[in-house]
Amino acid sequence: MKREIPLFLTAVIGAVMILGFFVPHPWVSVPTDFLQQSAVIVVAFGYVLGGANVLRVNLEGIAKRDRDWPYRVVLIAGMLVTMAVGFFVDGPRFQAPGTPSIWIYNNLFATMNATLYALLAFFIASAAFRAFRIRTLEAGLLAAAALIVMLGRVPLGDFLLRPLTDHAGLPEWLRTTPLGAIQDWVMNVPQNAAKRAILIGAAMGVMATGLRVILGIERTYLGGGD
């Protein structure tokens, strides 16, 4: 019963949700509305659970004196201070301008979040030099599309390349077409065609997986054990 009841629940709820798409009658729309409301609440508990797990894992690391245990103390301290301020100092209006919670959000969370992602710019340049290898026709086409898009999407593209293409042995119509227009064509025609194919294929895959989950064929979400 530890697996059968959850599987039954998933099947019934999934079927009701699909039925809710087609049937506007209150006998169906009210249960689907309640299930969506329930999902919103349970997902929120899931985030709290995630936070609790972070606390548990790092407290264990500190107790065992892991290699990075002093940093884990920093982690726990940051977490507890943020929670204390949010729950006991600011309360439900913790997001109002000027609160200590918003100070923590702006100067700690937002700053570090943005900077961690900004590091990627360096690595993308380094990877372009060290790992981007054009050895086949396919790789060459990928590189050509990347170069056209990168240079055509910025104002400097045409500005710098125009003097070069004017002297190359290119046809008149190509020499006078802005790189931006070529970039537009690449995005709207060949790129769009392939993306749409991926979209359609992925849609069929998701539909198949959704039906497998609802019918109980796909059970990996239950985890191992009995």
Binding site: L9, V43, A44, L75, F109, A121, M187, Q191
Partner: protein, 225 residues
């Protein structure tokens, strides 16, 4: 030099430089900022989800329903106003915490079943209507438009690209002969789309670095407007 006098800006600038120092090499300043970020994020997400969902969508409506502040009592249910019925998702949410112990983890499957059922249903219909039906419908375009040669050429190229790319994902037959040729053309279109995606990804990542430099030069050092 006219720099910022705001403590928060200095703290933010310090943490920004701590993280940027990673490009030279991994160091204690970067590690400190990284662990601090994880801790503050976890704490912030807990506070956010408690006040904006658990309190707002669960505890406050339950308090209102059982506190005698509503007409009809706590068990008069209608669409959008579930009153006492909200105890069920509340209980399911609490049951999620049984995952923290290996012995009781199986209980959390009930809550997971609700989430999985809801999202399986939503995603199945969403992808079917929004991606499959609408996209196939949009693909049915005239291949020859009299008087508009370039539009016709584009439509033909588009349709060939779409069909050959779709055929590439057909794995029920070996890609040989005519199918092999078609899938090879499909691969070329897919490579163009991956190249375009790479180009846009470069733009996105560079933008993030520009944003950080704008903060350091403008908000902190007041070097630019």
């Amino acid at each position: 030099m006219n720099v910022s006098h705001d403590l928060g800006t200095w703290v933010a600038a310090f943490l920004t430089l701590c993280i940027l120092s990673f490009v030279y090499k991994d160091n204690p300043f970067y590690k400190f900022a990284e662990y601090l970020f994880v801790g503050v994020s976890a704490g912030y997400f807990i506070v956010l989800n408690y006040w904006t969902v658990i309190y707002s969508n669960l505890l406050d409506p339950l308090r209102t329903a059982f506190g005698g502040h509503v007409e009809g009592g706590p068990f008069r249910i209608e669409q959008g106003d579930y009153r006492a019925l909200l105890v069920i998702p509340g209980l399911l949410g609490v049951l999620l915490f049984t995952r923290l112990s290996r012995r009781t983890a199986w209980v959390s499957r009930w809550a997971l079943a609700v989430i999985i059922g809801v999202y399986a249903g939503l995603k199945t219909t969403g992808f079917a209507q929004g991606d499959l039906v609408a996209q196939v419908q949009a693909s049915l375009q005239p291949l020859w438009v009299p008087g508009h040669l370039w539009t016709s050429v584009n439509a033909i190229v588009f349709t060939v690209g779409l069909l050959t790319s779709l055929l590439y994902f057909f794995y029920s037959r070996e890609h040989k002969g005519g199918l092999g040729l078609a899938t090879r053309v499909g691969v070329l279109f897919l490579m163009v789309s991956f190249g375009a995606a790479y180009g846009y990804t470069v733009m996105s990542r560079v933008s993030l670095l520009i944003g950080r430099f704008q903060f350091l030069f403008s908000d902190w050092l007041h070097l630019i407007r």
